[in-house]
C-alpha cells in the first residue's frame, strides 16, 4: 500500500481524509518506465489513471498534417495522466512518454477508481472537483505558454 504522505502531495486527492486516502492507496500499483517508453498512446482506449511520483513525462499530440508529434507540455511529480478520459469516457487525447530515468508512476484502473467514486460520494465529489481544478490550471498554463514561439 502507498505511503499516505505521497498521496497527500497529489492535488487530485487534496481535501480527502486519511481513511479515504487509504481506500485509494489500496487500488494503486507502482510502475517504472525507461526513457522514451510510451505510457499511453493517443487514440488508444482508456484503461488507467497515472500519477507521476518521480521524473518527467512528455505529453504530445499528432500534428494535423500527420507528420510527427507536437510536444504540448512536460509533467512532473504530483501530476496526473488520464484524468480527462475518467471524466469524458473518451479515448486518449495525447501520447505520454517517459523522458527521465527513472520515471515512476502510480497506476489505478479507471473503472475500479470510478466505482469507488460512485460508491463513496464524498471521495467522488472531491476527486472530480480536483480534476476540474487541474484541467483549469493546465488551460491557464497553456494560455501563458502560447506566446513562447
Amino acid at each position: 500500500m502507498q505511503d499516505l504522505e505521497t498521496l497527500k502531495s497529489v492535488e487530485l486527492f487534496s481535501g480527502l481524509e486519511a481513511d479515504e486516502l487509504q481506500k485509494i492507496a489500496a487500488l494503486l500499483e507502482e510502475r517504472n518506465y525507461a526513457p522514451d517508453e510510451i505510457i499511453v498512446k493517443q487514440g488508444s482506449p482508456r484503461d488507467k489513471l497515472y500519477i507521476i511520483t518521480e521524473g518527467l513525462v512528455e505529453v504530445s499530440v499528432e500534428k494535423p498534417s500527420g507528420d510527427g508529434q507536437h510536444s504540448v507540455v512536460k509533467l512532473g511529480k504530483g501530476q496526473t495522466v488520464g484524468e480527462m478520459s475518467l471524466v469524458d469516457q473518451g479515448s486518449r487525447s495525447a501520447t505520454v512518454r517517459a523522458i527521465s530515468d527513472p520515471t515512476k508512476v502510480l497506476a489505478v484502473n479507471q473503472q475500479v477508481f470510478s466505482e469507488l467514486c460512485n460508491q463513496d460520494a464524498r471521495i467522488g465529489y472531491i476527486v472530480m472537483k480536483n480534476i476540474a481544478a487541474d484541467l483549469s490550471f493546465r488551460l491557464r498554463q497553456r494560455h501563458l505558454s502560447d506566446w513562447r514561439e
Binding site: E58, Q141, S145
Partner: protein
C-alpha cells in the same frame, strides 16, 4: 507541509514548458532543471489562490546558458 504546483514557461524557446510539484517555493534567480536542461527563474507569479496545502504558481524562465 505546503506543496507548490508550478507552471513553468520558457518564452522564445521550443521547450513546451512543464507543470511540476515542488516542496519549496521557487524564487527568481534560482536555477531549475527540466530533463537535461538548466533554466534560470526570471519571474514568479501566483496563478491561483492557495487551496488546502497547495499553492499555485506560474514561473517564467530562460535558458541558464543565456542568462549572462
Amino acid at each position: 507541509m505546503p506543496t507548490y504546483k508550478v507552471s513553468i514557461v520558457i518564452p522564445g524557446s521550443n521547450n513546451p514548458g512543464a507543470i511540476i510539484n515542488m516542496d519549496e517555493r521557487p524564487l527568481p534567480g534560482q536555477q531549475i532543471r527540466l530533463e537535461k536542461e538548466d533554466f534560470l527563474i526570471v519571474e514568479v507569479q501566483e496563478l491561483l489562490p492557495p487551496r488546502n496545502d497547495f499553492h499555485f504558481l506560474h514561473v517564467t524562465c530562460r535558458p541558464a546558458q543565456a542568462a549572462g
